[in-house]
Amino acid sequence: MTALAARNLCKAYGGVQAVDDVSFSVAAGEVLAMIGPNGAGKTTCFNMVNGQLLPDKGTLEFEGRSIAGRAPREIWRMGVGRTFQITATFASMTVRENVQMALLSHYRRLASLFSVAARQHREEAEGLLERVGMRDQAERACAVLAYGDLKRVELAIALANAPRLLLMDEPTAGMAPGERSELMQLTADLARDSNIAVLFTEHDMDVVFTHADRIVVLAQGRLIAQGDPAHVRADARVREVYLGSMHA
């Protein structure tokens, strides 16, 4: 089943065509990597999907409903979770409270004025932290966490929404090499076990080729190749885009 479908997406900044007629889709349970050299349009594409940018042209559908131009908070409500390239967590709260906030929002109990927030959905939050390996740090403030740990907290926050689509912008940026593979393996396992569609952008090719089911390659705003890792690895245009400058 197709979770996310992007068709003929276009976005220009002034005269620069940042994304030009890009179409792709992600199926439930599938891990799709979006790659491309700097300036290829990955981040622009990504920000259209997550609601931060409005496409000039094209359609974006999540489970058959249009999401183009919807606010990030509406997209979350439809069942999408996301992590940021530069982590964004609530620094004055503990790790557990960060996940509890996402759960409170998921269960629509944020407007409660008199219950005690720290006591709500506590076990569920710890369960999610367990899954990303952060349970032992549940009591620590997010402000003092190591960067790689923050990335894992973000994953737990995203999972709190019981998402059917997970958007991860450079999920392993700033992590140590060992941690990277571990986090993506975890993500890929979650996707398969819970039938979550995952779309991620990534610079680390090892991570991409090891963990993605399918890869789409962008260059200068256009989609130049897509397919499984073996297929993309063998693609002449991909080799040219990535290796061209080295051969020159």
Partner: protein, 624 residues
């Protein structure tokens, strides 16, 4: 209005715009480079006016004496500004924004009392400008010669500033620092001298703006706060940091005011509208409209996002057993106070309780919700007036007591709708603007609010009439209010407010509607501030527009910041200490403002994180 009347009002507007522009340009320059919103800027303007009057008297009323006096007054203001920067503000560039504001407000208090000491409480009338004291005839009407000179002076100063900023090395450094302070620092710009220089230039403009106005306006002790709110409006409407924007906004606002005065009373559709009375309100309405349409002002640009983490706050913990025991003990003593203390202590404690509630309600929005309000007195005042006027309209006192908070909450709902659309300094200015609008309405609407006389005979019902009974009422309601506000901060609602403050991006990404939560938070804070105001009104028996004035808003900020914004109990401690201090000082010296100002300055310099924050840190260090 006839064509000639329109022309004259237009010229009047132009003449008023010049001085307003000088002062606003100074504030804008200082803000652009140092990111400090200098409340004391209006005080330098006031000093410029007073010094101008005295110097011209001293030099003699000759053209040379007059212009020499005006220029030297400006230069003296520049010197004072540079000294303030070098000795005081320089130590606070790393401190939180609100604390910087507090320090500059302490300067307002000190300078006001200095002026009181030096020139006395009476208004000082300035001399006319020798050689320009006549009038010319324009379109059949007399128009002062001096005002023509002022009209010319505005564009001249704008041109000089433009040359200075675009054609000199110093000017390009100023512009670089305004664009990106960190980058300018990284490129090796000597920030110390640059900042002192900018402060001197800004203060020169303020002092000159004040001195050049002496033929038109008398020097009074009230002018510091009245000009600073005008100037805030101009700078915000024009765009913070933009000199041409300040010029444009000064013109716009002066013209609108001039025409309001020119139109005067209008009788239409069976109602009388007094446009001349609208002058106090109209500039704030302009500002509210501009900020909603262009949140960064007419010629300003969207503020760059500050880099790096803001002030780091620890996670909210449940109160420790010790703290709970202390709270119960304090409550116990408060309950026994009517037996233990005298009548005077009871009244003072009642005040402290009222202001503790006010301060906690302010903390609710400026701390956890991160919305820096400069105008929380609006809701305190609406509560006080709501209760007092309800009583006057024959509602029983018990009902009037609750009408107050209701009116305040209504005000907060309306004003809050605008405020949550902004953030940072712009939000602060808008809250100030709404407080000033409220003040103006209260001050001018004689027939309903009693104008400057206020409302008298606002006494509680008979069964609450004794000091002890009213004290218990205050104790119960204030404590309940404070505990409710705290409880909300532990609830998902309070967490959502903190979430929006900590990371708007993440809050949006997990489905939190930031504006809705901030709006609700703002309204709730208004409700409880209104309760404090209503309690205050009945405890005093009369109220005046002072309950809505700027100093009341600042009092609240002082309480929260002195107590420590990062703790829940801090605002209560701050309210207690501040209210007691103010009472003690006021009884012992005529110069209570200056004394208070100096105490605030010392505290700010000694504890840039607030007193409770400091205590907690020391405590934490001892434990570890």
């Amino acid at each position: 209005m006839t064509a000639s009347a329109i022309l004259i009002q237009f010229l009047n507007g132009l003449a008023s715009a010049s001085s307003l522009f000088f002062v606003a340009a100074g504030l804008s320059l200082i803000f652009g480079v140092t990111r400090i919103v200098n409340f004391a800027h209006g005080s330098l303007y006031m000093l410029g006016t007073y010094m101008g009057c005295s110097l011209v008297e001293y030099f003699g009323r000759t053209p040379l004496g007059f212009w020499g006096g005006v220029l030297i007054a400006g230069l003296a203001a520049a010197l004072i500004g540079a000294m303030i920067e070098a000795t005081l503000l320089r130590r606070l560039y790393q401190a939180p924004e609100l604390l910087q504001l507090l320090a500059t407000f302490a300067l307002v208090l000190v300078i006001k009392d200095f002026a009181l000491w030096a020139w006395g409480p009476e208004d000082v009338l300035g001399p006319r400008a020798p050689g320009l004291d006549g009038a010319v005839t324009i379109a059949g009407r007399a128009f002062p010669e001096y005002d023509l000179l002022l009209i010319a002076l505005g564009p001249v100063v704008l041109g000089l500033l433009w040359l200075l900023l675009t054609r000199t090395r110093w000017g390009s450094l100023v512009r670089a620092a305004t664009e990106d302070r960190e980058m300018a620092g990284a490129l090796g710009v000597n920030q110390g001298w640059l900042f002192t220089g900018v402060f001197a230039l800004g203060s020169l403009l303020a002092g000159f703006g004040g001195a050049v106005n002496i033929p038109r306006e008398p020097a009074t002790l009230m002018m510091d706060l009245s000009i600073i709110s005008d100037v805030f409006v101009v700078v915000v409407v024009g765009g913070m940091g933009s000199i041409p924007g300040a010029f444009l906004a000064a013109l716009l606002i002066s013209e609108i005011k001039a025409f309001c005065i020119g139109i005067g009373e209008v009788h239409a559709y069976g109602i009388d509208i007094s446009f001349s009375k609208l002058t106090l309100v109209v500039e704030f309405i302009v500002m509210a409209i501009v900020l909603v349409i262009r949140p960064w002002g007419l010629l300003g640009r969207a503020a760059s996002v500050a880099r790096g983490p803001g002030t780091l706050e620890d996670p909210l913990r449940s109160p420790s057993r010790h703290l709970l025991a202390l709270g119960v003990a304090v409550l116990g003593v408060l309950v026994l106070m009517p037996v233990l203390g005298d009548a005077y202590t009871l009244v003072l404690l009642g005040d402290i309780l009222v202001f503790a509630l006010f301060s906690v309600s302010l903390h609710f929005i400026i701390g956890p919700a991160g919305m820096h309000s400069f105008g929380h007195a609006a809701y305190f005042g609406l509560g006080a007036y709501g209760a007092a006027l309800a009583l006057k309209h024959l509602v029983p006192m018990e009902a009037a007591l609750f009408a107050g908070p209701f009116v305040a909450a209504l005000g907060a709902v309306v004003f809050g709708w605008f405020c949550v659309r902004l953030s940072g300094v712009y939000l602060a200015m808008l809250t100030l603007a709404f407080a000033q609008i409220t003040w103006s309405v209260v001050f001018q609407w004689d027939s309903f609010t009693g104008g400057s006389n206020g409302v008298v005979d606002v006494w509680p019902a008979a069964w609450l009439g004794s000091k002890t009974a009213y004290y218990y009422l205050t104790l119960v309601l204030a404590t309940a209010g404070i505990l409710l506000l705290w409880r909300m901060l532990y609830a998902p609602f309070g967490y959502a407010l903190r979430a929006v403050r900590d990371s708007p991006l993440r809050a949006d990404a997990i489905g939190i509607d930031a504006r809705r939560f901030q709006w609700a938070g703002f309204s709730l804070a208004g409700l409880f501030a209104g309760l404090a105001g209503a309690l205050y009104a009945f405890s005093k028996g009369s109220i005046s527009p002072e309950v809505v004035a700027i100093p009341r808003s600042v009092d609240g900020l002082v309480m929260v910041l002195l107590g420590g914004i990062q703790t829940l109990t801090g605002p209560v401690a701050g309210a207690a200490v501040f209210t007691w201090l103010q009472d003690t000082i006021a009884r012992n010296t005529d110069f209570w403002r200056a004394t208070l100002g100096v105490i605030i300055l010392i505290l700010v310099l000694a504890f840039p994180q607030g007193a409770t924050g400091m205590l907690r840190r020391r405590f934490a260090r001892e434990q570890s």
